[in-house]
């Protein structure tokens, strides 16, 4: 009954309670977003790296994937050595390059082109057609839309641009064998993939790749396999998804610091809001509380009721803040992902249920503690004095 009494006390001043709940909801939403931001990009990057089952990356020594123009030479031999390592399930080579397509006005448009092994690749997922053979390409959806391409159509590509005229030089027509979703492309990026040998020939980077993606056999720890490959293949760096995420984490320290500071501010604001509302309520009901103590209601039960007010405020605030936070995260994600060069499949805000649960639990606990302080203060007042103060 004391708990019911506390809840009804909150409803006694509806406008005040609603305003407080709105404030707590906004703070909870901010904390939720900062929790999602603190590790969102890294988590999302990890998911992307593991896409298609390729969790390891083998790069030229000392470089991160596609971090420089450097390539792994003698790629065929390196590939064979990697494939020979125990625990390797599949090796997917990729050579990144730039080819040029002719626009309607004849000028050349640079397109990111990936040389891949159609039997083992992790760059795209086909949505139409089939894997490319000799003289064929898979176009990204934005490229297909921009050039009105369908499976079976042709696209002229050139390895070079005439700098004086701005026109592609040495064009050749390639048949579109498929259209796909390119996992690492930024929004609306026009890109394509074709057999590795063709890209090597066009760019005169024979027997060279930018990166190998490696898939491990089921049950084998990625880090163990990374060590094995590094030991077996000299001159390369091997990254497990975890180590790539750690590298990403280092680069995103700024985001984590920002998220920690803003999240802490949100938490403090919530605690202050709850504490203020409960303190005002307790002050207003000082006489009632003293009378309840006089008629014999135990102090701990009264305290429990007051703490419950804080808990309810924080809990309901969190419940309201959750959808608000998710909506805000969605909007902010779209703004942040508009920065050029970021893969569209990345996300700055990733909903991680255990972390979100901990963040919201911290808010609720802060709410309870905030109720505890004014409650304990009111109940610590000697009863005789409380009744005298009330009578005056």
């Amino acid at each position: 009954m004391i708990l019911a009494l506390s809840l009804r006390s909150l409803l006694r001043r509806r406008s005040r309670t609603l305003l407080a709940l709105a404030g707590i909801a906004v703070s909870a939403a901010l904390l939720l977003d900062m929790t999602m931001l603190a590790s969102g990009l890294t988590d999302s990057f990890g998911d992307l790296t593991r896409a298609q089952g390729y969790a390891l990356r083998v790069t030229p020594k000392g470089t991160l994937p596609f971090d420089s123009e450097a390539g792994i030479r003698g790629a065929s031999a390196v590939r064979r050595r990697i494939e020979a390592v125990a625990g390797v399930r599949s090796v997917a080579p990729t050579l990144g390059a730039q080819l040029y397509a002719a626009r309607r006005d004849g000028t050349g448009e640079p397109l990111f082109t990936a040389g891949i092994d159609p039997r083992a690749q992790m760059l795209y997922v086909l949505t139409a057609g089939r894997a490319p053979g000799a003289g064929e390409i898979v176009a990204s959806r934005p490229l297909a839309e921009a050039y009105g391409l369908s499976v079976g159509d042709s696209l002229s590509l050139a390895p070079e641009l005439d700098l004086a005229l701005g026109r592609p030089r040495g064009q050749r027509a390639y048949r579109v064998s498929g259209i796909g979703d390119f996992l690492y492309d930024y929004a609306d990026e026009r890109s394509l993939a074709m057999p590795l040998a063709e890209v090597q020939r066009l760019t005169r980077r024979l027997d060279e790749v930018s990166v190998f993606a490696v898939a491990a056999r089921p049950g084998l720890d990625d880090r163990v396999l990374a060590r094995r490959i590094e030991a077996a293949v000299p001159g390369v760096s091997v990254y497990s998804t975890e180590s790539l995420m750690a590298a990403m984490d280092q680069r995103l320290l700024y985001f984590r610091q920002l998220a920690t500071i803003l999240g802490s501010v949100a938490l403090v604001v919530t605690a202050l809001l709850v504490g203020t509302i409960v303190a005002i309520g307790v002050r207003e009901r000082f006489g009632e509380i003293a009378a309840l103590r006089a008629i014999g209601v135990a102090r701990r039960r009264l305290l429990l009721g007051i703490v419950a007010e804080g808990l309810v405020l924080a809990g309901v605030g969190c419940a309201l803040g959750l959808p608000l936070g998710l909506w805000m995260a969605h909007r902010l994600d779209r703004i942040l992902l508009a920065f050029p060069g970021l893969p569209a499949r990345l996300s700055f805000f990733v909903f991680n249920a255990p972390r979100v649960a901990v963040a919201l639990a911290v808010i609720v606990a802060a709410g309870a503690l905030s109720g505890l302080l004014p409650g304990a203060g009111a109940l610590r007042t000697p009863l005789g004095r409380a009744l005298r103060e009330e009578a005056e």
């Binding site: 009954m1 004391i2 009494l5 009804r8 006390s9 409803l11 006694r12 006489g287 009632e288 003293a290 009378a291 309840l292 103590r293 006089a294 008629i295 014999g296 209601v297 135990a298 102090r299 039960r301 000697p382 009863l383 005789g384 009744l387 005298r388 009330e390 009578a391």
Partner: protein, 237 residues
């Protein structure tokens, strides 16, 4: 800490040599200067005196709300000094009823819920406490106001709800601190009629008042204890 005497002879309140001092500006204010008071079962005792004479302080000590600087109080046979605060609260809950000048009803609860509250705290089962709350509110003439909340009731009605609440756990006695202080003459008389009825039916009453009408009614039914300057100066039977 029960008394050794048989229950029939046991006073409801037995206070001896009570003193109470409050620290004030580095000195001590002597609110009570050695008070002895015995209240027997079924009595109506009115404690009267001018403002600041120590009436409310005495009531607080008798009810275990405050602790005396010296002396001791036995309330329904229990030496209050031997109890910690939680035990004193429990004793008040089960053995004492309170009626305050400002009623102190909970505005968010209905009249019936206000009466149920001490019973809920005492662990009385819901059905039983609802039945008894209705019975008590009918007893004080508010059977038609069960679902009304205090702000929807007049001052006299609120004080009657407070009296019903005081009776909830069938207390051995009721303390009333200026029970008519906030009421007009007519509603004050109604409340006093109710007190008289309760006392006639065997409820022990201790009222603190400076209202002559309360003293007069108590004098008719029991006795008046007159205080001045922290002492009992007259205790009429």
């Amino acid at each position: 800490m029960t008394d050794d005497r048989p229950p029939a002879a046991e006073p409801v309140i037995d206070a001896r040599a009570l003193t109470k001092e409050y620290p004030y500006a580095g000195d001590a204010v002597h609110a009570l200067r050695g008070v002895d008071l015995r209240v027997d079962r079924g009595e109506w005792v009115a404690i009267v005196g001018p403002s600041g004479c120590g009436k409310s302080t005495l009531l607080n000590l008798l009810a275990g709300i405050d602790e005396p600087t010296g002396g001791e109080v036995r309330l329904v046979g229990t030496l209050l000094r031997s109890l910690h605060e939680g035990q004193r609260a429990r004793l008040r809950l089960l053995s004492v009823g309170f009626v305050f000048q400002r009623f102190h009803l909970l505005p968010v609860l209905s009249a019936a819920e206000n009466v149920e509250l001490p019973m809920a705290e005492a662990g009385v089962e819901r059905g039983e406490r609802r039945r008894r709350a209705r019975e008590l509110l009918e007893y004080v003439g508010l059977g038609h106001r069960l679902r009304h909340r205090p702000p929807q009731l007049s001052g006299g009605e609120q004080q009657r709800v407070a009296i019903a609440r005081a009776l909830a756990n069938r207390p051995a006695l009721i303390f009333a601190d200026e029970p008519t202080g906030e009421l007009d003459r007519r509603t004050g008389e109604e409340v006093l009629d109710l007190f008289a009825r309760l006392n006639a039916e065997g409820t022990t009453l201790v009222t603190v008042t400076h209202d002559a009408r309360v003293a007069e009614r108590a004098e008719r039914a029991g006795r008046v204890v007159e205080m001045a300057d922290g002492r009992i100066v007259n205790s009429e039977c």
